[in-house]
């Protein structure tokens, strides 16, 4: 592989990183909001969210990305491919994150909530000061695990023409006629990124366990 091949590869890696990063940030936040809405058990809206989560868990990312990218123009919306890719990844990861947040919320200690109420905290202060900081710690391992899944699913956005770390290996081999080296380097980069997340997940688990004592 020559210098320009390396450069292309790094550009592909960067595309994967920033698109995944944006989707993770949006998915974690949106997941929290969905979890809160589901906890309110508003009729109709609750059923819609259950359906959404069930659909999002069953729909392949490739199919979702194509669906969004191809059908948006028929509604008169002109979606940039990057936006469509981020939207697909976010819609997918939000469903999983919502379930992670929801279980953290439901498993939250009733005793601690009572202590907050007895101290005169309103539900909002209790949520913000007592529950959320702990939910973040207990949910973090699950959220990081979901981040690894998102990165493993991110090559799906190649289907709508985004040149990510997987797709770029095609571009490189079209010039060099040697597909194997760029694919192997891409493998190594993926392993490095996901290996980092696995390591972070272990640290997060240790912290979460300490809180549980």
């Amino acid at each position: 592989m020559n210098a320009s091949a390396w450069q292309m590869l790094l550009e592909g890696a960067w595309t994967t990183v920033w698109i995944s990063g944006v989707s993770i940030a949006m998915g974690v936040t949106a997941g929290l909001m969905l979890a809160l809405i589901r906890l309110a058990r508003i009729p109709v809206i609750d059923q819609i969210l259950v359906l959404y989560i069930s659909l999002a868990r069953a729909t392949p990312l490739v199919t979702l990305a194509l669906f969004i990218f191809l059908s948006a123009p028929t509604f008169g919306i002109n979606l940039d491919r990057n936006v469509a890719g981020i939207l697909a990844l976010t819609l997918n990861t939000t469903a999983f994150n919502a379930e992670i947040w929801r279980s953290a919320f439901r498993n939250f200690s009733r005793d601690q909530r009572e202590a907050a109420m007895a101290a005169g905290m309103t539900p909002w202060v209790t949520f913000r000061r007592i529950m959320l900081p702990q939910m973040m710690i207990t949910s973090l391992p699950g959220l990081i695990n979901e981040m690894s899944f998102l990165i493993k699913g991110s090559p799906a956005i190649a289907v709508i023409g985004i040149v990510d770390l997987t797709r770029v290996t095609n571009r490189i081999s079209a010039v060099t006629y040697e597909p194997l080296p760029p694919i192997l380097v891409a493998c190594a980069l993926y392993m490095a990124a996901i290996g980092c997340l696995v390591w972070l997940q272990r640290i997060a688990e240790r912290r979460a366990n300490r809180l549980a004592v």
Partner: protein, 273 residues
């Protein structure tokens, strides 16, 4: 009819007119009833706690004493009856509707509660457990809250552990922090829900001695407990609950040496053995 009789046996305070009562009492409970799934846990309970008084509530398990205490700060909502804290009704506003959460929180802040299982917040260190509510409920400044918290931790003998996290403390230490946390809100009345029941026997003493100090300082306290000797030593009034009814209410001397009901006599005999 039966319930009515028992509550009238209560004693002298009964004759004080309602309005006057509410003004002078730290806690005034009237005609309180509560059931869980059709089982009556509290039946037409009346109770007065005067400012500066220490009232201990005794009774066998399942007698409703914890429920009574938890009704005082509205952690449990009674089905009927009223509770006034320092003259202000809790849980129900002037229009007779359920209180908005903010208002309820404000009334709750006039009480402090210590739980059987401590219920410290594990993500905060000892100092911040104590300052959390003063800062975010009373709106105190951080420096002010911390200065007050350090005084209180000193009082309960926990100032060396101010930076420790709850998971590193013993049960007795946790409970002393929990007491400091409740005191930090400068409550008009302290509620203790079996504060030593979850402790190893050798740790009970350190917590009881803190509570005894508080009573000497004139704090108004309502204490649910199983510790007979402690109850006798600190109480101004002992209340005995049986199956949701207050069947005896007396000063500790009378209660422990000359109880008027057979039920209490049996209870005391069993506790002694």
């Amino acid at each position: 009819m039966f319930e009515k009789n028992t509550s009238e046996r209560v004693g002298a305070e009964q004759t004080v007119p309602d309005a006057a009562r509410s003004e002078q009492a730290a806690v005034s409970i009237r005609h309180l009833s509560k059931s869980f799934d059709g089982v009556e846990v509290l039946r037409d309970v009346d109770l007065e706690v005067r400012e500066g008084d220490v009232v201990t509530i005794l009774g066998s398990s399942g007698s409703g004493k914890s429920t009574l205490l938890r009704c005082i700060n509205w952690l449990e909502q009674p089905d009927r009856g009223s509770i006034h804290i320092g003259g202000q009704r809790i849980g129900v506003n002037d229009a007779g509707r359920p209180m908005p959460v903010r208002e309820l929180a404000r009334v709750r802040a006039r009480t402090g509660m210590v739980f059987q299982s401590f219920n410290l917040w594990p993500h905060l260190n000892v100092l911040h457990n104590v300052t959390e509510a003063p800062i975010h409920v009373l709106g105190k400044s951080k420096t002010q809250a911390e200065a007050h918290a350090r005084e209180l931790l000193e009082k309960v003998g926990m100032s060396p552990k101010a930076d420790a996290y709850p998971s590193t403390l013993s049960g007795g230490q946790k409970q002393r922090v929990a007491i400091a946390r409740a005191l930090a809100m400068q409550p008009e009345v302290m509620l203790f829900d079996e504060p030593t029941s979850a402790l190893d026997p050798e740790l009970v003493g350190e917590v009881l001695s803190v509570i005894r100090d508080l009573s000497a300082e004139g704090y108004t306290m309502v204490i649910v407990t199983h510790e007979m000797a402690f109850s006798r030593a600190v109480s101004d009034k002992v209340v005995f609950l049986d199956k949701g009814l207050i069947i005896e209410q007396a000063d500790p001397e009378t209660f422990f040496t000359n109880p008027s009901t057979e039920r209490v006599r049996k209870f005391l005999e069993r506790e002694e053995s």
